[in-house]
């Protein structure tokens, strides 16, 4: 039998029998969420994700929340396996409660949450048992400055003005970067418009997307996630494709 460092006992008691378990090399995500997009402006951070939980190619759960308000300074968005994201949401919810009962009005800020996620995700990847997610952390630090971070299932973590996961990193990120380069002083409302444009293109091009999404904002004044909304689409060019006949 192959002895591994993972838990699993064939004996009854903890020290009985051999400590053996099937070696986990491959995992697969089951119910998944697609792109999460984020833009950090001087006014605040805007984050967006659609409300779809795909079951492979089936658009199975069309009203799930992929954005979570952790506390007044942080909203996170989850890409990848939804069950793993729910697990992380549960742990984060408890952290917020733990901050609340101290009673001093101080809660973990976005960089702290980002770093905690990085620790957890990297640790799991090192044990060959990853949480199959890419998380976007949108928020502000204790000083009130906007913060936007990215962490993925292999523990890669960084901070950037614009982030996107999955398909979004191929299609939306170039659009977002161009918008930021042309208008570096854009505000929250302009950023929301950019994201809506990106989400429309993603709906055209990403087969695992849904035209129903939420936009979250963390700024000095508000930290909230919108009600689900849709983008106007124009499929008329689809009537006359050329070169695919």
């Amino acid at each position: 039998a192959v002895v591994s460092t993972q838990s699993g006992h064939y004996g009854r008691g903890k020290d009985e029998g051999t400590t053996v378990s099937p070696k986990k090399h491959t995992m697969q995500p089951i119910v998944t969420g697609t792109s999460v997009l984020g833009i950090r402006t001087k006014e605040g951070v805007v984050i967006a994700a659609d409300t779809l939980g795909s079951y492979g190619s089936l658009a199975r759960f069309r009203d799930i929340q992929r954005l979570m308000k952790v506390n007044d300074s942080t909203i996170i968005g989850g890409f990848g396996d939804y069950a793993d994201f729910q697990f992380l949401m549960k742990l984060l919810r408890q952290q917020t409660i733990d901050d609340e009962v101290v009673g001093d009005g101080v809660y973990r800020d976005a960089p702290a949450i980002h770093n905690w996620l990085r620790c957890v995700l990297y640790n799991r990847r090192t044990k060959f048992n990853p949480l199959w997610n890419t998380i976007v952390v949108a928020g502000k630090n204790y000083g009130g400055e906007p913060y936007l971070g990215y962490v993925d299932k292999i523990g890669v973590a960084f901070e950037e003005k614009t982030v996107a996961t999955g398909f979004g990193s191929y299609i939306a990120l170039p659009m977002m970067r161009k918008a930021m380069d042309e208008n570096p002083d854009m505000g929250v409302e302009e950023a929301k418009a950019v994201l809506k444009r990106c989400l429309r293109v993603l709906f055209y091009r990403d087969c695992r997307s849904l035209n129903r999404f939420q936009i979250g904002v963390v700024s000095a004044g508000e930290t909230s996630i919108s009600e689900p909304m849709s983008a106007d689409t124009d499929w008329s060019i689809g009537a006359n494709p050329s070169g695919y006949e």
Binding site: K90, Q94, I97, E100, V101, G103
Partner: protein, 240 residues
Amino acid sequence: SDLSSGINAEWPLRPGVENSGSVIAVRGSDGVVFGVEKIITSQLYEQGNNRRVQSVDDHIGGAVAGMLSDARAIVARAREEATDYRDVYQVPIPLKMLCERLGHYVHLYTVYGGLRPFGVSILLGSWDELNGAKLMEIDPSGSARGYYGCAVGKGKQNAKTEIEKLDMTKLTCRELIKEVAKIIYSVHDEVKDKHFELELSWIGKDTGGKHQIVPKDLYDEAVKYAEEALNDSDDEDNVM
């Protein structure tokens, strides 16, 4: 005292709970209000420190009377129970379930000779849309009882008398904050314990079911009401 005689929870009541500053809690029509007479033994203490009202999870408030270090241990345990319940059932722990678990835990310390009972009484309250306001007390023997109005500590007898005069079920939290402040001020013994700090907290419809310290403006209003009531009663004594 004889700790080997099993349930002997009288001992911790004497030095612990009964000599502690008064703690009262009242269950109104839309929530629960806690008031604590925090006796200040030294002017060197930082104001607002050593809080006697604590939150367990975010939807349950607790006020403690007795040995503060024992109180910390009980509140820590209550928080663990709440966390565990939430982990398993994905809903916040109902007050009744928390008090069952906590009562069980406190009782445990009364049946073994090697352990001493907790010298603490804890008043716990919650409010939600579905079940309304709930208030319970756990005493050092581990028994958990539900109340409409409850008082523990030094001025318990007088406080209970005052509480009984209130028609609690008809009063809202906003009104009760003032009444609770008034009762604490009236049972406070100016001669024996010179300085005290009034701690007020509430949980109810106005707080969206979250346990919070009463905001400054309402707190100041309540203290003013309490001080005026005290002056009025002093005047009455003089008239006689």
